[in-house]
């Protein structure tokens, strides 16, 4: 399928991209192939419709929000670099290395992953998840037969547990304290040791 090098040379600033995101050259090539296959009209950019064409994403109850996360800075197209940067959030976090506080926060650290998840809830980007926003998410994740009262009681209980400063909204600091597990990671294929 062609050598990795020829594809890498097609991408501008690829060294910087690899440094920033921590993807290996082979990963970048794979992502580039994927980007090109999604970009059906070969414009070099992806639009929300291109994401919408992915069937499994369209089936996902929060599919629209995930697509929104790619276009968060108000633009309506995303180029390859931004595409890779956002996906870099999902790389496994390197927990064993001691962090140098002078360097910027790595894109796949736990904090960055949490910020990404917070973004999914906080649609109006005011830094807080209000009760209304929580209800919206719940509504999209649940089926039609779940009643409004049930949704509201779930929302109330969640806010009660997480909201520490009693402002009826969940800020990022409070969100951080919620136990979130390790699911916001897409693990890379590991070599099977024989």
């Amino acid at each position: 399928m062609g050598s990795t090098n020829s594809t890498l040379s097609k991408i501008p600033n690829v060294e910087e991209l690899m440094r920033e995101t921590g993807f290996s050259p082979a990963h970048i090539v794979r992502l580039y192939d994927r980007f090109e296959s999604l970009d059906k009209e070969k414009t070099g950019h992806l639009r929300p419709e291109d994401f919408g064409a992915i069937n499994r994403l369209a089936m996902n109850p929060i599919g629209d929000r995930i697509i929104g996360a790619f276009f968060s800075s108000g633009q309506d197209t995303v180029d390859f670099h931004s595409f890779v940067r956002i996906l870099a959030h999902f790389r496994p976090a390197e927990n064993n290395r001691p962090r140098d506080p002078s360097l910027p926060e790595p894109v796949n650290s736990r904090i960055s992953k949490l910020k990404f998840a917070f973004q999914l809830y906080d649609l109006d980007k005011d830094g807080k998840i209000s009760r209304a926003e929580l209800l919206q998410v719940l509504r999209s994740m649940m089926e039609m037969q779940v009643t409004e009262e049930q949704l509201e009681s779930i929302a109330d209980r969640t806010i009660q547990e997480a909201d520490l400063d009693r402002d009826d909204a969940i800020s990022f600091e409070e969100f951080r304290k919620v136990p979130l597990g390790d699911t916001l990671t897409l693990t890379q294929q590991r070599v099977a040791s024989k």
């Binding site: 597990g181 699911t183 916001l184 294929q189």
Partner: protein, 472 residues
Amino acid sequence: MGWLLPFDNLLCMALGISFTVWFTSLLVFIIVPAILGVSFGIRKLYMNSLLKIFEWATLRMERGAKEKNQHLYKPYSNGIIAKEMSTLEQEIQELRSSSTTLSSEPEFEMADIMSFCRRGVESIVDDEVTKRFSAEELESWNLLTRSNYNFRHISLRLSVLWGLGLLIRYSFLLPLRITLAATGIGLLVVLTTIVGFLPSGRLRTYLSEKIHMMCYRICVRALTAIITYHNSENKPKNGGICVANHTTPIDVIILANDGCYSMVGQVHGGLIGVVQRAMVKSSPHIWFERSEVKDRHLVAKMLSNHVADKTNHPILIFPEGTCINNTSVMMFKKGSFEIGCTVYPVAIKYDPRFGDAFWNSGKFGMVSYLLRMMSSWAIVCSVWYLPPVNREEGEDAVQFANRVKAAIARQGGLVDLLWDGGLKRGKVKDTFREEQQKLYSKVLVGDQEDQTGRSEYFTICSVTGIFTHNHF
């Protein structure tokens, strides 16, 4: 200059002897068994030893990668992610158990959105459908540079092996195969033309069958194709249509190796045209002019006429219409299913460890494709003959086509894609999304209906457990 002459003679003698030896061994080991239809089992032996060598090569690369403390890039099937095979419910249960809350009843957790989010991003990075058109990527290296992504991890020993492999493939196997292919095609053309002069009758049919089989067997050896046929009792019979999934033009040779078929296709110029015209002289095939291809009624009529005559061989058709990369079966075009005769489905699955048989017609032309095929190690494939099917009452051609497609996909271990380009995309989106929502709701709200009944909770969990097995 006199002293050169003896060397000259010696050289001539040496060349003469080596040529004789070469051709005799070729004849004895390959062509005669092909004519007679027997096999020495040399190819099976070859295949097994190759597999051992590939395993060794992959292990060396992995060791090399581990030493440098890097991860070996395994692009096969999951790209940069290892898809979680657990279902939504399992993931959420796991989240519950790993959290520190003491509550034993499932409640909505902020973390639940993570599972959905991860699945969503997984599908952005990789999804089933778009992968189908690129060549399937391998986990082990088969000593061909064209399928190696880990070129940084090749040690010296491995490079030597690869160089040796290169030498063998290009200087020994390739000329051998080209000779065989030329012999096969030449024999086909000459013999079918001769048989064409005979008056049509049983003798002619018998001879032409024998000739076709013999030449296809030679061609199969020319590609070093190691084929396993399963369920031969379901082999297509006269007066029917044989449908198969399409990966490469070589499919034709693979199937025709085991039975006589009538081919359908466009008239080409050049060498293929010569072969086509010769084949038609001794047995009926259906070749269309370019202009006739557009006329679907004409095509259907010719096919029906052919099928109606029970002495004609079954027609071989590839309903996908284009080459797919042998990991899935795409939508079948319904034309061949409208004719109303028995359909014999056949599934062909290539073993990707030996060489990629997929013809990416955008990337490679026919000649360069054939050269690639002839310079890879071998083509190993399995052919399954499925039981014949007929169109049922009340089934239209499209449903019939889908039924056959599903059977072929299931047998060959290929993914059966319903994707048809988005015509029904709106409907698919809503129903599937609702299912996801329903499942999630069951985990949570199903329990809230009865806060006190733990037994209810367990019942519901077992219901979703049933869902797990059936749906995902």
